[in-house]
Symmetry: C2
Subunit: 378 residues, 2 copies
């Protein structure tokens, strides 16, 4: 009847439906905590934006000039000198625009394995072939990347280098420099997807890949530091690629909501986002600590897990040949949920892995959820 798409559905999405019962303590989602949204500040920004009827009109594809300038200044202040960005409808849209602009059917995309599910779907939809690169606790392995470049000639490397989804891992500064040099040497595009970078709970900041190489396309987002419902992201790229992305975006949705963009620009101008992010760091850091502290009494001996310095996720592997998708059904009977790890793998899934998010539950809820989970896993 119509073209069969390579992606039948999203397991995370199907799963979110199962975890929506109010009695379930869910570690499955990748959602920010709604009680920490600055609702009053954002409502005031919308009200101010809607004093001006031009926010209801069509607007340029590139995005609200004030918002572009505020986002650029913020990136510059964080160590990534930025003169302009394209505003996107969430950073998910930026991924699709980049895929459309750079990938022909049959192009090769190199990814960490495991990696962000919706990025895999987005690349698969363009007909690209996905090739995994080995990684360890310090993130992607440059030697593995070198051999993938030699054998597969990828057009693009996709990475969440800071507090990765799903692993929570951060690529070391030394490896960033090596990867930047490889990108430069081999004309490889690197997509640095950075929705979590500001959510650091300990340790010093690591410089962004984009600050080391102009072959890097940097994706940022308001979703984790502001509010995902506004669907606001941004992309920084070399000027001529940015122009191409504007043309692709024009066909995709003309422009991102004028109202949401104006509200975000006014919010950034009139509020101290750094102070808000500092509060998120304190709250989420305590939640991270609560989950990590509970893990030894939750999981069986022989389980391994990551120990993230920031972001939203812990990544775990159970001992033996268990299937966490089966365990999830049992967990849901105990009113607790996680995400099975298999869908995050581009090629060979490890069914004993799973992802746990610590951001949407308080430390007390985390303690209760982990106790329920212990009944399933131990």
């Amino acid at each position: 009847m119509h073209r069969t798409l390579p992606v039948a559905s999203s397991p995370v999405r199907d799963l979110l439906a199962l975890t929506s019962r109010p009695e379930v303590i869910s570690f499955a989602g990748g959602l920010p905590a709604p009680e920490l949204f600055d609702l009053d500040g954002l409502r005031a920004a919308y009200d101010l934006a809607l004093q001006d009827r031009s926010v209801l009109q069509y607007a340029p594809t590139e995005g609200n000039p004030a918002l572009r300038s505020l986002v650029s200044s913020r990136l510059t202040a964080r160590g990534l000198p930025t003169s302009d960005v394209l505003i996107t409808t969430g950073s998910q849209q930026a991924l699709t625009l980049v895929a459309t602009a750079l990938l022909s059917p049959g192009a090769v995309v190199a990814v960490e394995e495991p990696t962000y599910l919706a990025a895999l779907q987005c690349f698969q939809m363009t007909g690209a072939r996905i090739v995994p690169v080995a990684s360890d606790a310090s993130g992607l392995d440059p030697e593995s990347l070198r051999s993938v470049i030699a054998s597969e000639r990828p057009t693009l490397l996709y990475l969440v280098p800071t507090f990765a989804n799903p692993t929570g891992r951060t690529l070391s500064a030394a490896r960033r420099a090596e990867i930047a040099a490889l990108a430069q040497e081999h004309d490889l595009w690197v997509v640095e997807d950075d929705p979590y970078g500001e959510l650091r709970y300990r340790g010093p900041a690591v410089p962004s890949l984009a600050s080391m190489s102009d072959r890097t396309i940097y994706l940022g987002s308001f979703s984790k530091i502001g509010a995902p419902g506004m669907r606001l992201g941004w992309v920084k790229a070399p000027a001529d690629l940015l122009r191409t992305l504007v043309i692709v975006k024009q066909a995709a949705d003309l422009h991102t909501s004028t109202v949401d963009q104006a509200a975000a620009a006014l919010y950034l101008a009139n509020n101290d986002l750094d102070a808000h992010v500092a509060r998120l760091r304190v709250e989420y850091g305590a939640r991270r600590d609560a989950m990590i502290a509970a893990l030894p009494s939750t999981v069986p001996d022989g389980t391994t897990w990551t120990d993230p310095d920031g972001g939203m996720f812990v990544w775990l592997r159970l001992p033996g040949s268990v299937d966490t998708a089966e365990l999830l059904k049992e967990a849901l009977r105990h009113d607790v949920a996680f995400v099975p790890g298999a869908p995050f793998f581009a090629t060979t899934p490890d069914h004993a892995t799973f992802r746990m998010s610590f951001t949407t539950n308080t430390p007390a809820e985390i303690a209760e959820g982990m106790a329920r989970l212990a009944q399933v896993l131990r």
Copy 2:
């Protein structure tokens, strides 16, 4: 450096930059009149929506359930029985989703000529081949469509059947029935793009193509009856295609702004949109009449133009072999603007054509703009 896209830029977009000087009376844009936006009603809807912090959170890809239900009811009341729609980030996004779901590279798309520029760009970006179908004052010619189906086997026919962009023409009811039968017979998808259908200034409504054939994908929009800055559109399609479009949309932007959707749902629930549209009809109808009345003294003898029953556009053709792109430069020197017609043609442009929008200027401004234009054209 990167893949060369088939679409270098948008002439309409480049042109809008030229017409933004405040002294220019522009008939170039396809914009609704900002002074007619229901700013107070929409601001109240946003304020109400932002009483609930869940509007700042991620949301299902399908869209806000209340908005989907209100839009479905409205379509049903207008003669198109509808059980569900997918909410999109403007109807431009719906076009891209449909193109991604249905068109493989090399697929054939049949279009009226001239037709909506950004639809052409969207189809070209998927690598589709565009084939024109002949049309006249009653819209697309079914006989021409029949021969295009036989020789080119198009996957999809794209149409703005009611108050078309750029011509303002409406496809007759008899021809709609013929086209619906052809679509059924030949497994042809028909995209019925209907942003203007409610803006009728005279004559009886014509049934939608989608009410005649379940091979029709119906695209609607809040942009012309509400506010385009909110980027809200919707698509009605057969259930299994709608499911595919949801998957494609998930990769495109996860979902449309939760805030804008909630505000629109509350606006529709708490306001009389029919009364607002009735006011738009009165105002825009007077503007249409002012432009049509001024045309005989504005254009040279031998010029032809359409006489639209609704929508936003009049389409004109000057006598002889003039190039309206050249005339536009002269028009801008007289502080008046229109859109040259050539970019609206998929194949062989007619450089003597141009499009005039009557919606963004008052009758007095239209009279003054037409007087300026007469100095250029006569």
